[in-house]
Symmetry: C2
Subunit: 326 residues, 2 copies
């Protein structure tokens, strides 16, 4: 038997960075998923094979890469951590073959690592016969997240587990939002790598240098996210888009945008997007543009024309899914 699970990636619609200082962020699951399929092995090893061609075998504390990539272990380690977290929880140890397939670009802030953790936890739980709740899956996935991110908020495992839309506030945790309308999005990938930790640190330093300006801006970003949620619940996508535009300016103010991101933002806006902003840490990575079904294709084209890689996406309500195959 093969135990399978899939989990969606995510994009942050408003509030990134400001969330570090206690303001809410609005996150939605997108229709890009990681699928993990697990079968039991006859030995005690854990073999992980990703469709990126990264393959390796964990045996106790040792790791052996199959293939020539030197970063295989750090790439596959979160899968091992997630799998072992489940085995520890359930109290069963098994050798496993884990096969990972993804339609989420990696390392651009779209929640690829969390979706991998969540789908691994769910599929490993299934093969071991454990009946894990969504809450269990999100909690166990957080362990693997801690390997990837120093201080993960927990919002990424949560959105990959539950799907839909989530309002996250540090200290208060997640609030699932219901009745959010369909959101046709285009994500634009700059292709530039980014250093989330360094950007978070830069914002912290700017805040220390200019507290009387940056602190009120942080508070205002919280107001913006609350207004954005109101607009969504009213189905007012035009207002929501305009608030995304304003939010992008806030991110420019704290110094985390750059020319490549802004170029994609302007291209998306010119092509008719209702709103466009960088999403995630900034300094590279992606923008997200809110479109209508009519403008989505032309916004994607404009992003391509401006040197980005467009990813058509929409919010999905389906979080982690588990099934078996023979």
């Amino acid at each position: 038997m093969k135990a399978c699970a899939s989990a969606p990636g995510k994009t942050i619609l408003t509030g990134e960075h400001f969330v570090v200082y206690g303001e809410p962020a609005l996150v939605v699951a997108i229709d890009r998923r990681v699928t993990v399929k697990v079968t039991e092995r006859r030995d005690e090893t854990l073999r992980v094979a990703s469709d990126l061609g990264i393959i390796g075998v964990f045996e106790g504390n040792s790791f052996k890469a199959e293939g020539c990539r030197t970063d295989s272990r750090s790439f596959l380690e979160p899968v091992r951590i997630a799998a072992e977290a489940v085995m520890d929880r359930v109290g069963i140890k098994r050798g496993l073959d884990v096969e990972v397939r993804s339609t989420i670009p990696v390392a651009v802030g779209l929640g690829s690592s969390s979706a991998t953790s969540v789908a691994t936890v769910a599929s490993v739980g299934k093969i071991l016969g454990a009946d894990l709740s969504q809450g269990n899956i999100a909690d166990l996935s957080l362990a693997a997240e801690k390997f990837v991110h120093i201080n993960p908020s927990g919002v990424d495992p949560a959105i990959s587990t539950y799907g839909g839309a989530i309002l996250y506030k540090r200290g208060e945790g997640i609030k699932r939002l219901q009745s959010i309308p369909n959101l046709p999005l285009v994500i634009g990938n700059t292709g530039l790598s980014r250093n989330t930790g360094r950007l978070v640190q830069f914002v912290g330093e700017r805040r220390e240098r200019l507290p009387s300006v940056v602190d009120p801006l942080i508070g205002l970003a919280g107001t913006l996210t609350r207004k954005a949620v109101e607009a969504l619940l009213e189905g007012d996508l035009e207002k929501f888009g305009e608030l995304m535009d304003v939010n992008h300016g806030f991110l420019v103010s704290i110094g985390v945008s750059n020319e490549a991101l802004d170029r994609l933002v302007y291209a998306a806006k010119r092509a008719g997007a209702l709103g466009a902003k960088l999403t995630g840490a900034g300094g590279g990575g992606c923008i997200v543009a809110l479109c209508t079904l009519e403008t989505q294709a032309q916004v994607a084209e404009a992003i391509q024309g401006a040197g980005g890689t467009p990813i058509m996406a929409e919010k999905v309500e389906t979080g982690v899914q588990v099934w078996t195959e023979n």
Copy 2:
């Protein structure tokens, strides 16, 4: 005898747009000037010749262009209004030859029209033997400004008259700032024309749509300008530059920047500018970058490389100057 006067242009360092809603703006005179030279004619006409090749003769209510430009009259009309304002004030009517020379690019927000009005008022006052105070000159110049801008704040004639640095607040008027350090600037002209009225209107409409976000942002922009003035008075140009960067993000948030402006801003920052932002109405026109004497040349080069026209500038304390030539 030839009566001569020159007056400087200006650039807004912080607070544009937000000034419309009662927050302060910080404006400095720059070392680009308009020079006006006036001689008496034997007839009753007013002949105005600009070094842009725009020449025309006013006689009563009629106007005759010399040359082929069809916009001569609207271009030269402010000179006539300024000259007539002085003649009305002094109670003397003369035919005049007015010669206008400028090193300020026109219609990009650098105060070319105000500098022209101020230098015209001062030189016409001189030829008529009137002893106009700086306050008189600024007031009389405002009349001509009303021809160019629908609702001029009076800050442009003031800065062209007094020079130096001015904090302007609607309803409270101008406050001249003393002891401001030298400010090596590079202005970057996008070469794109802009429509100030339309941009001001756009901001007003965004404010009406999103009052709970835009109103606090306006207030925060006022805080920013006050902090920027503090930084200048402390001689802390690094802090001042960082506040310019933050201010640029605010202008992005209210929707008045564009890709050409942002490109010049990023180019200036990459080349070592302490801060860079759009200046004036936005939507075209110019950026202003604060540099050190060491980085000024490389910032200018970077702006050129990014498709802009760089203008090296610095704050000047000298406002309107009047003299005679034989």
